[in-house]
Amino acid sequence: MSRWGSRWGGRSLCAALLLAGALQAQELTGLRLLDQLEAKASEKVNVTLDGNLLQLAARFLSASDPEQAQVRKVVSKLKAIYVRAFEFDKEGAFSAADVDSLRRELKTPEWSRIVDASSKRDGESSEIYLHQQNGQVTGLAILAYGKKELTVVNIVGPISIEDLAALGGEFGIPKIERNRKK
C-alpha cells in the first residue's frame, strides 16, 4: 500500500471508529442485559432492528397505508431501533438495579431527560430521554415501568420534533433547551 493509501486508510479507519463510537453512545448496551428477563415474562416483545435489517423492513412498508407511510418517513434516516417490553404475572420480576443500570448510561452529557413522570403510589414511571449532538436530536430512549411491566425503547439516529409529534409525543419539545435536567 502506498503512503497516501496508508494515510487514507488510516483516516477511514479513524472515521469509522469515531462513527462507531458516536453510534455506540446512542445505543444502550444495558438493553441487552434485559433479555434475561424474557424467561420470567408472560408477554414480551424483543425487537432488534439495525443496519440492513431496518432498511429491509422499511422497504416493505406500504406507501398507501397511513400508519406504514408515517413509519416509513420516520425510520428513513434511523440507524437502529431496539425495543424490550415485558409483562409479568407477579411483582418483583425485575429489580431496581436492572432499571438503574440503564439510567446510568443515560447520565452522559449527550442524553437529556425531557420527561420524568412517576408515581410512587402506583409504582409507575415514564421517563423520556433525547440524545443530542451539535443541536440535533440523534437518539431517543424511553424507560417505562410499573410493578409488573417494563418497557425500554432505544431509537438510534436523527429524529425530528415532527417525527416525535407524529409518533404521539409533543411534550413541548422546543423547551428542552431551557428545561434540561439530569
Binding site: 408472560s42 408477554e43 409483562e87 404475572d89 410499573g146 410493578k147 411491566e149
Partner: protein, 181 residues
C-alpha cells in the same frame, strides 16, 4: 349491512362490467384483501396460514365471479366464504399446540387501549374461543357487523349469534380480569 337481495338490472350490468374488464378482478382483490386477510388472521393467528386462506378465498371468487350480483353482494360473499373457511381451518388445526384459557396470564396492569402488549394478549385470548364464537367476535369487532348481519353470513339464527356473542364476551371478561363496565 342490509339484506343483499339482488336487483336484476343492477346485477346484470355489474357482472357485465366485471367480466368485460380484465383489471376488475385485480381491483376487487386490492380493495378487499385487508378484510379477508384480517378475518383469517384473527381466527387462525398466523400470517402464513391467513395468507393461504385468503388466497384460496379470492381464487374461489375468481371461479364464481359470474354469480356476484353487486358490490354489496361481493362483500357479503367474501365475508361468508372467508368465515366458513376460517371456521373449517380452525377446526382442522385443533390438535395444534395452543394456549388454554387457564394458561393465559392475568393482566399485569391496566394500560390504555393502544398498548400493543394488551392488544396482543386480547387477540391471543380471542383465539382460545371455540371456532364459531371466535368468528362471531371477529365479524362483530373487526367488521363492525351487528348480530343480524352475522346471522346471514354464518347462516344461523340471530338468537344463536347473540347467545354465542354473549358467552364469548363473558368468557373474555372473566379471563381478562373481572367486570369492565
Amino acid at each position: 349491512m342490509t339484506e343483499v337481495a339482488p336487483q336484476e338490472d343492477t346485477a346484470v350490468s355489474w357482472a357485465g362490467t366485471v367480466a368485460g374488464d380484465s383489471d376488475a378482478f385485480a381491483r376487487i382483490v386490492r380493495e378487499h384483501q385487508a378484510m379477508v386477510f384480517s378475518l383469517a388472521l384473527h381466527c387462525l393467528g398466523d400470517r402464513a396460514s391467513a395468507e393461504d386462506l385468503s388466497q384460496d378465498v379470492f381464487l374461489q371468487l375468481h371461479r364464481n365471479l359470474d354469480q356476484i350480483e353487486s358490490p354489496a353482494h361481493l362483500k357479503f360473499w367474501l365475508r361468508k366464504v372467508a368465515s366458513h373457511r376460517a371456521i373449517d381451518a380452525a377446526r382442522r388445526r385443533r390438535w395444534w399446540p395452543k394456549f388454554g384459557l387457564d394458561e393465559i396470564p392475568e393482566p399485569a396492569i391496566r394500560t390504555p387501549a393502544a398498548d400493543p402488549l394488551l392488544m396482543r394478549r386480547l387477540a391471543k385470548v380471542v383465539k382460545t374461543l371455540p371456532e364459531t364464537q371466535r368468528v362471531i367476535v371477529v365479524l362483530r369487532y373487526q367488521e363492525d357487523m351487528d348480530p343480524s348481519e352475522i346471522a346471514q353470513v354464518l347462516e344461523m339464527p340471530v338468537a344463536t349469534v347473540k347467545s354465542y356473542l354473549h358467552r364469548a364476551l363473558e368468557m373474555l371478561r372473566k379471563k381478562l380480569g373481572g367486570k369492565k363496565e
